[in-house]
């Protein structure tokens, strides 16, 4: 993968030449141009058309998080393009592949979309700007040093002569891209740091955006799918003859050992026929597992001798033995489904040994590889059409639905087949946020200072399920997200032990927005609140004393406390809670204000959230992500859960797996305190503080500690 434009460009050119690419304009990219918009290519990231339209190529995926706009801002700023002319388009995964991944990593997760692309996309913009200036200077016969660029215009300063980008781009595209360029300093930024409007908004208001589920192709068929309800179970038999006469039905396809599909003219016909298809499942040994058994399994991890080490310092055993007093608590969270509003779907077409797919994916490269594998063809026989995602949240990093679509489409050569999962299938065949419990023990001295803290996680490992090769001697590093030495914020605790007893179940697990920072921050921040209460100290002051070695965490917490008016009087019946965490390269803290009626009705009235992501590309979009992260995070804390009975998921839709709606939405006030010098993530970090801030406020209101999540239907009535 290329991280600098000079090496990326060179290796690409070598690759293109070796492939006999035929560089017709000297430095253009014939295959990419064939895929994308026509125009003058300046380097590989920008295309400029005669009317100044500036198309920025985007390798990551847009799933709502605003990355498409943010990446375009980064390129356009270095290009000195007028934002009014800027559009964005995806790089096709097969074009990236054919060019030795000149556009870098397509994977979009872990809040990495911008922070891991920032160096090379900015250089890409700067390369384009240098080429435009050079071409203009050449045309005027003046030194480049006398020319400047701004708002898509090159100006020759001494004479005042001007050329629009659209007028000079074709000439510029013929030049050799410079090997080295210098990117702007933050003081020179014109677009980075500005809240420009999203590029994808207009089409999302008119219904024009074509999500993958909306793809319509000539001669297209549709498929509905059923997977064995019990994870690990298999398809035993089915009776296709019962449905083949139904209207529109073409064929029943056995997709794999545990999956069957019905293909029809229309999807609703396929779904209706699937519901009528007699299917016998061999449910296998997991068919007796339920949530109670899983809870019991996890409990065995809380005191187990063996556990994977996250981090430790000092002597925790001595600290706890010698403590004047101890505080201990056990917390637990359930499985969570992503429940993207657009259910899993993919359209595939098998034709003449080649496979073509239309998909919303968090990883275009991985979708291409999955399609090739499922079709049994080489990578270069795959074409991928990337569509905006109707939500991702980690779910669409998995390629299960792509493989299925390809396998089904192979039965219908020359005809595209669109596979759509029903909501029920989507709810019951996810890659769930892992079920987790945690036992926390703190030692205090006679003055109420923390002398030691032990946090023992017991729960399922994402890596053990999804990527066992990434386990390090039985340790899943991801289990400690938010709790690394850089992240957790309480370096001043003199004796510390954080470890993880891996307890795996038969339920598939995966990356869910915020991943394990969700549980870890909730466990730690609710527990620290408990310890502060035991020490009879103010929760904010108590934390401050533990954060003396974490100035960035502390600054963010101070910012949120100030904005929220921590310590100032509140209206009668309103109570506050606070929480902080570090994750995905950023620092976050939140204060929640809640009221709980005598009947136990919770109202979340106000959230103040502060974040330091280093640099901010688009403050409006960072605010939108923070607001949204509270909805997603609080849904899981207040209502949502996936439970298991008879080996299968109980919940099937939004009626029994409730999520937050507008009526539940608290006012969220965002405080951005970017301290500069680093690029932190945005989409996920703040989700971790949503739950604990609210739960700590509930304790302040009711004296009740909610340790088993979700909150609903627990009783908050005054006792």
């Amino acid at each position: 993968m290329s991280h600098t434009i000079q090496t990326g460009r060179r290796s690409f050119l070598i690759a293109a030449a070796a492939a006999g690419g035929g560089l017709s304009l000297g430095w253009s990219l014939p295959r990419a141009a064939a895929q994308g918009s026509a125009g003058a290519e300046l380097g590989i990231w920008a295309v400029i058309q005669p009317d100044d339209t500036t198309i920025v190529r985007i390798a990551r995926s847009e799933m709502g998080q605003g990355t498409l706009t943010g990446l375009a801002q980064l390129v356009a700023d270095e290009l000195d393009a007028d934002w009014r002319f800027v559009k964005a388009e995806y790089v096709a995964p097969e074009v990236n592949l054919a060019n030795k991944r000149a556009w870098g990593d397509m994977s979009t997760g872990g809040s990495r979309g911008i922070r891991m692309s920032v160096d090379y996309v900015r250089k890409g913009g700067a390369v384009g700007r240098a080429m435009l200036i050079e071409a203009a200077a050449k045309q005027w016969g003046v030194p480049t040093g006398e020319c400047s660029a701004a708002m898509s215009v090159i100006t020759h300063t001494p004479s005042g002569k001007r050329l629009r980008y659209g007028e000079i781009a074709a000439e510029a595209a013929k030049l050799t891209p410079p090997a080295n360029v210098t990117v702007k300093t933050p003081a020179q930024w014109t677009l980075i740091g500005h809240g420009v409007k999203r590029l994808d908004t207009p089409d999302k208001l008119s219904g024009k955006t074509v999500f993958a589920i909306d793809v319509q192709l000539p001669n297209m068929l549709n498929a509905a799918i059923a997977q064995c309800p019990v994870f690990g179970g298999k398809l035993k038999s089915f009776d296709a003859s019962k449905i083949t006469a139904m209207k529109g039905v073409h064929q029943v396809v056995k997709v794999d050992d545990s999956t069957i599909a019905v293909v029809a003219d229309k999807w609703f016909q396929a779904k209706t026929a699937l519901a009528a298809l007699p299917i016998v499942w061999d449910e296998g040994p997991n068919a007796t597992v339920d949530s109670k058994q899983i809870d019991t399994l996890l409990k065995t991890g809380l005191d187990a001798k063996e556990a994977a080490l996250g981090q430790s310092h000092g002597d925790i055993a001595a600290a706890l033995t010698g403590a004047a007093s101890k505080v201990e608590a056990v917390y637990g969270t359930q499985f969570q489904n992503h429940a993207t509003l657009e259910p899993m779907n993919c359209t595939a077409k098998w034709d003449d040994g080649k496979i073509e797919i239309w998909v919303g994916s968090q990883n275009g490269d991985a979708s291409l590889a999955a399609a090739a594998e499922a079709a049994g063809v080489k990578l270069d026989a795959v074409k991928v059409h990337k569509h905006h995602l109707g939500g991702g949240f980690g779910r669409r990093g998995n390629q299960d639905y792509v493989r299925q679509a390809v396998i089904i489409a192979k039965q219908f050569p020359g005809r595209p087949v669109k596979l759509i999962w029903s909501r029920e299938e989507d709810m019951r065949h996810g890659f769930y946020r892992p079920i987790t419990q945690c036992k926390l023990t703190a030692g205090l001295d006679a003055q109420g200072n923390v002398t030691g803290l032990h946090a023992r996680i017991s729960g399922q490992s994402i890596l053990a399920y999804l990527a066992p090769q990434r386990m390090e001697n039985g340790v899943d590093r991801i289990a400690f997200q938010g709790w690394t030495t850089e992240e957790y914020g309480y370096m001043a605790i003199p004796n510390l032990l954080i470890d993880h007893a891996v307890r795996n179940t038969h339920v598939p697990v995966g990356f869910w927005r915020g991943v394990n920072t969700n549980q870890n921050a909730l466990f730690m921040e609710c527990f620290i609140d408990e310890v502060a209460h035991a020490a009879k100290k103010d929760p904010l002051e108590f934390r401050r004393a533990l954060m003396t070695k974490n100035p960035k965490h502390l600054a963010v917490m101070n910012a949120v406390a100030e904005k929220a008016g921590w310590g100032m009087p509140l209206p009668k019946g309103v109570y506050r809670g606070i929480a902080q965490n570090g994750g995905f390269g950023s620092y976050t803290a939140a204060v929640a204000e809640v009221s709980v009626s005598p009947k136990g009705e919770l109202k979340i009235l106000r959230i103040v959230c502060a974040s330091d992501p280093g640099y901010v590309v688009n403050p409006q979009q960072v605010e939108a992500q923070i607001e949204g992260s509270f909805v997603y995070g609080l849904s899981s804390v207040l209502f949502s859960k996936i439970t298991i009975d008879k080996g299968r998921v109980v919940q099937g839709n939004f009626d029994d797996n409730q999520v937050m709606r507008l009526a539940d939405m608290p006012r969220v006030e965002t405080v951005l305190v970017p301290s500069g010098g680093f690029w932190g993530g945005v989409g996920e970090p703040t989700i971790a503080v949503a739950g604990p801030a609210v739960l700590n406020a509930i304790f302040a209101a009711t004296g009740k500690r909610i340790r088993s999540l979700p909150l609903s239907p627990q009783d908050l009535r005054a006792t």
Partner: protein
């Protein structure tokens, strides 16, 4: 063969009359701005107007609305952007992934048609569509803006 009036155009549709309106709109008529989210009228992604009243089209049989005027997101305004709700949505840059927004916009347009100046309680009670990205805060602000715009030019407030 059924006849359906969608956005002022008559379509001949050979679907079974009990096929949900959502799927007839998407698969037979070919308009895909109306989305499938749950199929049980929980999420609102499929919201359309039937004779001016908002409905969750996944739970309405197409055969029951052959005499009605159906409006989808594609028919809300001539250019797809000029209905006061769309104008307000643009101003507040509401969408994130955008998948629920057709339904949100249709639900809000109907609410403002019935109650040009909705209270906070009206909004909470009537706008129950699910947004997993969590754009609710901006939706609330945009509703206020749309209400102000609708009052300023009532002629465009209908759909």
């Amino acid at each position: 063969m059924m006849k359906l009036n969608v956005n002022g155009k008559i379509y001949d549709v050979d679907a079974d009359p009990d096929t949900p309106l959502l799927w007839v709109i998407r698969e037979w008529v070919g308009l895909t701005g109306t989305k499938y989210g749950c199929g049980i009228a929980e999420c609102g992604a499929c919201s359309v107007h039937i004779d001016g009243v908002v409905a969750r089209s996944c739970s309405v049989a197409a055969g029951s609305v052959t005499a009605a005027k159906i409006t989808t997101i594609e028919g809300l305004s001539p250019d797809g952007l000029s209905h006061p709700v769309q104008v307000a949505w643009m101003q507040h840059d509401v969408p994130q992934c955008g998948y629920c927004q057709s339904g949100q916009i249709m639900a809000v347009a109907a609410l403002l048609h019935d109650k040009p100046k909705p209270t906070e309680a009206d909004v909470a009670e009537n706008i129950t569509n699910i947004c997993r990205c969590g754009t609710y805060q901006r939706i609330k602000s945009a509703i206020n803006t749309a209400a102000a715009l609708s009052v300023a030019s009532p002629a465009t407030g209908k759909a």
